[in-house]
């Protein structure tokens, strides 16, 4: 298997297969990072594309090609921050429709719908649907991972998504193999507490 450094150099020199291999190797990890940021798989997919469209043409700028994965994670992290900013705008846009209608109406401009027709059904439906979603194991797992501290979260992603986890962790998190497995074990303990507690409660 070609090393990250080798792949980055070949892709920077215009070798399409190498660029494809970089995508295959790291798209799942980037997707996981972006799913943490967006909470939505379609949105995360959209952003994965943006990350690679942004990163691959700039591989030539990479001073340490062997740190390719850390560099991609950095771009994904920035993309996630941008997304959250946009999402904040979107929430403001939709403010009268979800959550507290009366409070939102105070901040809504004159031409937006105020409280007259916005029904309480909308607000209660959100509560109901989020309760339903919480009953879904996949959502529970996603939520539990999302609540981990960032380094632990990345460690779990690397463990489940990367071919050589200890090596990737060394380059991205700057950890020795034993340091990585300690961090991973800490993350898994938190997940056990979070998920099994919930599982037992259900």
């Amino acid at each position: 298997m070609a090393s990250d450094g080798e792949l980055a150099k070949r892709a920077a020199a215009g070798e399409r297969e190498a660029a494809g291999e970089i995508y295959d190797r790291y798209a799942p990890l980037v997707r996981a990072m972006l799913l943490d940021a967006t909470g939505s798989l379609p949105e995360a997919n959209d952003l994965v594309q943006e990350v690679f469209l942004r990163a691959l043409p700039r591989l030539g700028q990479l001073r340490q090609p062997e740190r390719l994965c850390a560099w991609l994670i950095g771009i994904a992290r920035r993309q996630g921050t941008d997304y959250r900013r946009q999402a904040g705008r979107r929430r403001r846009w939709f403010a009268p429709l979800v959550g507290d209608v009366a409070a939102a109406a105070d901040t809504a401009s004159n031409d937006t719908v105020s409280s007259d027709t916005a029904s309480s059904d909308t607000a209660s439906s959100d509560t109901a649907s989020s309760d339903t979603a919480l009953n879904d194991t996949v959502d529970l797992v996603r939520q539990a991972i999302g609540e981990l501290p960032e380094r632990e979260r990345i460690a779990v992603h690397i463990h489940y998504l990367c071919g050589e986890p200890a090596e990737v962790a060394r380059k991205t998190l700057g950890l020795s193999a034993s340091g990585f497995y300690k961090l991973l074990e800490r993350a898994r303990s938190r997940l056990r507490v979070r998920l099994f507690k919930v599982e037992q409660r259900r």
């Binding site: 997919n45 959209d46 594309q49 027709t117 489940y160």
Partner: protein
């Protein structure tokens, strides 16, 4: 120790499906990324590093040119439109929707006649009001006549009026639940269809543009309507993620484009007066003379008239509604002409039937289970449909097809999304309106449990034809 190991295994069992979903290859996206790379100049500064003195000058000159070239090429580089997939959900989250623009209608009174341009309007005010144009065309003695109509619902009545708001023949009282259901049909089916076209439409981001001073991503999609191909362009505002403009053209075999639909105003959450949803002289508080005519006749909780139907060569297929039970299950209420009797009972009613979920990449197979099997061609039956791949529904339109002896009847049924409380009310009312009195009660929880079983089953998939 044993407990720890078993906990570890249990944790792995919980986490692996989550990560399996993230591992799923996305060949289309991979291709788009690599194509984007082919069209984007690569930036390589390694040569410039040799001399710091030369470096600064070169970097600034190259950076400016590269940035300009990259910006220009990225603007043109096509990429897949995952963002556009969220548009139906965004429309679902708003209180009002207004679409206004123009529609072109073919003049079939003679060859080479230019199409008519007619106004297009579609307004939705949740929970239970809508208004949309319905343009009729007839050709008599070589002359084409265009009739402008408006279909209105004010939450209590459904009516058809002329362009001046004068009531025409159609008027009836509705229960609030029925008005709510019909409003969502318009919001989730007609609005989405007007903006995005059918679910098979494949969109690609083709660049960035401004529409009415708003920064937008521009998407282009193509779809076939059977008789021709339509090319659609949709401007999605970056700040809101909502479409602000749509231009749709019919593509002729010679490559010529003819206007089909142009939405010049797309807005959400604007104030829409209740009067817009009533005919002239119709008062919300006082019963109209038409109401008086219907006195003593309480409107049915839900009207069980088919909302979609087709027939071919003596065989008939009808659907009442399709409801989204969960992210990966739909309830289809439908009926068909009687099949040739066979020994296998209810399954005979599935003979010559195909079910699938249409998507840009093709027809997605589904699994089917009867919730209330058919007993005759006149009775509605309830079917549970889940994607065979177990993944979420996506846009959630179900394609129901009946293959006759000489023809095929196909219905595209958009699965309507409601909150759980409304869904419970709808299921209870739909049972009364569409099933026999002795049909067993089915709660939402029951349906979801059955859907989960069906998703997990390894049963055979329905044919997709």
């Amino acid at each position: 120790m044993m407990t720890h190991e078993s906990d570890d295994r249990q944790l792995d069992q919980l986490l692996r499906p989550h990560y399996e979903a993230l591992r799923q290859p996305n060949p289309l996206q991979r291709q788009v990324v690599l194509e984007g790379l082919d069209q984007t100049p690569r930036s390589d500064v390694s040569a410039a590093r040799r001399s710091p003195a030369v470096r600064l000058g070169w970097i600034s000159a190259v950076a400016v040119i590269s940035l300009m070239a990259a910006a220009w090429l990225l603007r043109l580089a096509p990429s897949d439109a995952y963002g556009i997939e969220a548009v139906p959900q965004r429309f679902h989250d708003v209180q009002t929707i207004s679409l206004r623009g123009w529609q072109w209608i073919r003049d079939s009174s003679g060859p080479n006649k230019p199409p008519f341009r007619v106004p297009f309007e579609m307004l939705v005010k949740r929970p239970a009001m809508f208004r949309h144009t319905a343009t009729g065309v007839s050709v008599e003695k070589g002359r084409t006549e265009i009739r402008h109509r408006l279909h209105l619902c004010d939450g209590k009545h459904e009516s058809v009026v002329d362009e001046n708001g004068k009531p025409l023949g159609f008027f009836r009282s509705l229960s609030l639940l029925d008005a709510r259901l019909k409003t969502e049909e318009i919001a989730q089916t007609a609005v989405v269809l007007a903006v995005l076209g059918p679910p098979e439409a494949a969109y690609r981001k083709i660049g960035k543009d401004n529409a009415d001073g708003r920064a937008c991503d521009l998407y282009e999609g193509r779809f076939s309507t059977g008789s021709h191909t339509t090319v659609a362009q949709v401007w999605i505002e970056r700040a809101s993620g909502l479409p602000v403009r749509v231009v749709r053209d019919e593509l002729a075999a010679d490559g010529k484009l003819t206007g089909e639909l142009e939405l010049t105003e797309i807005s959400v959450n604007t104030l829409l007066a209740d009067d817009l949803f009533r005919g002239k002289g119709q008062d919300a508080e006082k019963p109209s003379s038409r109401d008086k005519l219907q006195q003593g006749k309480e409107p049915a909780l839900l009207d069980a008239t088919p909302t979609s139907s087709g027939s071919s060569d003596g065989s008939k297929l009808e659907a009442w509604q399709t409801l989204r039970i969960s992210d990966s299950a739909v309830l289809v209420v439908w009926r068909r002409s009687a099949p040739t009797p066979r020994a296998d009972g209810a399954d005979a009613w599935l003979s010559d039937i195909a079910l699938s979920l249409p998507e840009p990449t093709g027809m997605r197979p589904v699994r089917h289970a009867w919730l209330s099997p058919p007993t005759s061609a006149e009775r509605w039956s309830w079917s549970l449909v889940v994607p065979a791949d177990g993944k979420p529904l996506g846009r959630g339109e179900v394609n129901l097809t009946l293959k006759g002896r000489r023809g095929v009847t196909s219905l595209g049924l958009a699965a309507l999304r409601f909150n759980d409380e409304e869904l419970r009310q709808l299921l209870a009312a739909a049972r009364l309106s569409t099933l026999r009195d002795d049909a067993p009660e089915m709660s939402l929880a029951d349906l979801r449990a059955q859907a989960r079983k069906l998703l997990e089953s390894k049963g055979s998939k329905m044919p997709t034809f």
